[in-house]
Amino acid sequence: MMEAFQQFLGEFLGESGALAVWTLLKIVAVVLPLLGAVAYLTYAERKIIGFMQVRVGPQRVGFKGLLQPIADALKLMFKEIIIPTGADKTLFLLAPVLSMIPALAAWAVVPFNDTLVIADVDASLLFVLALSSFGVYGIILAGWASNSKYALLGAMRSAAQLISYEIAMGMALITVLMVSNSLNLGAIVGAQGQGMFVDLGAGFLSWNWLPLLPMFVVYVVSGVAETNRAPFDMAEGEAEIVAGFHVEYSGMAFAIFFLAEYANMILVSALTALLFLGGWLSPVGFLPDSIFWLFAKIAALLFFFLWIRATFPRYRYDQVMRLGWKVFIPLCFVWIVVVGCWMMSPLNIWK
């Protein structure tokens, strides 16, 4: 049916026109559900943290509060965007856009199963890494353009934090691509679907998380730090620097920062699921591989994000830096060497 539709488009628009429209449709098909997921992630967060804190969470708008995200979005849309005196207007308005773009653009290369992907490029992991480091510009610009001391402090913290954790994250990924022999996300998932345990019907033991366990931990923690989530939310640090980089933002400009943060959370969870938890692969032999496994893994990781937010106090800025530079990066170095030796030795399990 899809081919027929593509043919139909081709007749009308010609070869390149059809491709453009088809790609556009695919993008819409990914981005719209993603935005919906972001909206309901905020709802899930409020409900889950609410229950963890012996509260009930939103319950008044719609059945069980299900319309709450929509009400919030409407409210924010109708609010005035206040631009502070002395702020750099262009940069001030550009910053939220800059933080939103990479969070959405990275989804171009994220595969949902072995065929479902917008752009199946060879170096898709590199593309994702490049885009995720791009997100920090939005935060730095927001802090700088706001002309506020709190915002500038937030931007400084966030820049330092993102750069340090980007390194740890990149290093953790080096081991992944060493063992999977590819930079393509689809191929990385594929590589996790073979091995001794898969034949035994316990596929989840052959995923990367087990042999690369320290790197998995480093990656997840760096992911939390990358997305500026508690306990690494010093860039916002509401008790210290009020709201950090977005303290001066209101209305839709604020909402876009908010969306970007949650879209990034989903992205990091999706990447963790793909790189370490076998993406769409089924954990056990008697159940088929399916896109639902991917969604389930993403949901579990997101729950983890919310759970630690409700539990842990916030790190101090210098402690976060120390954890990044003095623990994670050396650990990554060591583990890269360990994995290298492992692969060269007769005990290599990734043949």
Binding site: M52, R157, G237, R309, A310, P313, Y315, Q319
Partner: protein, 417 residues
């Protein structure tokens, strides 16, 4: 080369961690605090001056509004000062009730402090857990005085009335079905003493819960250990009191050193810190809550078996019973005089201090024999503690300033008065 200037940050008065209306002017070198300059006075209501124009009794509700998280302790100091001037002693039952409610108040205060402290440091769930327990105690306040916060329950010569025999009940509503209401009302079926007794059995488990979440939490310890250290000697020099002094290792508690109310009749321990950092002060508060529960339990047991009057029978100080007032001319005159002119306190001066949850809270009164104080001076513990902010915060980072404010347990009602 351009001249380098320190970054000056205006922390508050509108700041989520300012605990009210604290305005701190922070001079920063990067994120490191070079100087912290607390500005006060944004909540000044001239309580001391107001008291000079009210009768002795009318000032009791002002006391609630000083440290508005430990209301009854403020009243206690004020009533004790008046009793000292009058030379009267409240009945024993009143003393026990005061002890009981001082400890309820201490738990209220420490729960708020630990909850908000943890919230400032980033652990937001604790706050909601502590507020769940606070709610129970505030209900006890309501049952005894009719008001959840500003109780005005202690009176010169005793307490306003005896403990109630029944607790207010939850009622069914759109949001509460019969089963929920039944569960909520279970502890409330008996008298106030039964209710508090039930609380005392439940509460230690809740403290254990908070301890599980915080005590050994690496992040919590990294954020608190070694932050805002005050040596024992320096704490004495600065005039600290309460947990701020005990956290530094000085064993000083007015409840032990100058026993008042029924504190010499109950058994309890005073926790003392070692290093004088924020973590020690936090641990002291946790332990004090356990000890308060112990004191409450002893008071409840005593109050159950020892009925009696709860306010002095001196009709020049406390109003006569309603019945006597209706039938007896003498009592009617007393009643009329007390509620129009107010009581007269003999000439003289007196200072009375209580071990308030935050430290030594004292009231100094000068009377010229009139129906109102000639002068009242309030000794607020938080004021002294806040004055040490600069010393405690210097060299730490911004995030630590928040920790220090939290561990100083600052409430602006008493600092600005």
């Amino acid at each position: 080369m351009a001249e380098l200037r320190n970054y000056t940050l205006n922390f508050g008065p509108q700041h989520p961690a300012a605990h009210g209306v604290l305005r701190l002017v922070l001079e920063l070198d990067g994120e490191v605090v070079e100087r912290a300059d607390p500005h006060i006075g944004l909540l000044h209501r001239a309580t001391e001056k107001l008291a000079e124009h009210r009768t002795w009794l009318q000032s009791v509700p002002y006391m609630d509004r000083l440290d508005y998280v430990s209301m009854m302790c403020n009243e206690h100091a004020y009533c004790m000062a008046i009793e000292k001037l009058l030379g009267i002693e409240p009945p024993l039952r009143a003393l026990y009730i005061r002890t009981l409610f001082d400890e309820v108040t201490r738990i209220l205060n420490h729960l708020l402090n630990i909850g908000t402290h943890a919230l400032d440091v980033g652990a937001m769930s604790i706050m909601l857990y502590t507020f769940r327990e606070r709610e129970d105690l505030i209900d006890a306040y309501e049952a005894v005085s009719g008001s959840r916060m500003h109780a005005a329950y202690y009176r010169p010569g005793g307490v306003y009335r005896d403990l109630p025999d029944r607790m207010p009940q939850y009622r069914e509503s759109k949001w509460k079905d019969p089963a929920t209401v039944k569960a909520l009302n279970e502890a409330r079926s008996g008298s106030l003493l039964d209710y508090l007794d039930d609380f005392c059995t439940r509460f230690p488990k809740y403290i254990d819960e908070y301890a599980t979440l915080l005590n050994e939490n690496r992040i919590w310890k990294q954020r608190l250990v070694g932050i805002g250290v005050v040596s024992a000697e320096r704490a004495r020099q600065l005039g600290f009191s309460g947990v701020m002094l005990r956290g530094s290792g000085v064993e000083w508690d007015l409840r032990k050193k100058q026993p008042y109310a029924a504190y010499d009749r109950v058994d309890f321990d005073v926790p003392v810190g070692v290093t004088g950092d924020s973590y020690d002060r936090y641990l002291c508060r946790m332990e004090e809550m356990r000890q308060s529960t112990r004191i409450m339990k002893q008071c409840i047991d005593w109050l159950r078996v020892n009925p009696g009057p709860v306010i002095t029978d001196n009709a020049k100080v406390a109003p006569p019973s309603r019945e006597a007032m209706k039938s007896n001319m003498e009592e009617l005159i007393h009643h009329f005089k007390l509620f129009s002119e107010g009581m007269h306190v003999p000439e003289g001066e007196a200072y009375a201090a209580v071990e308030h949850p935050k430290g030594e809270f004292g009231i100094y009164l000068v009377s010229d024999g009139a129906n109102k104080p000639y002068r009242m001076k309030i000794r607020a513990p938080g004021f002294v503690h806040l004055a040490a902010m600069d010393e405690m915060a210097r060299g730490h980072m911004i995030a630590d300033v928040v920790t220090i404010i939290g561990s100083q347990d600052i409430v602006f009602g008493e600092i600005d008065r």
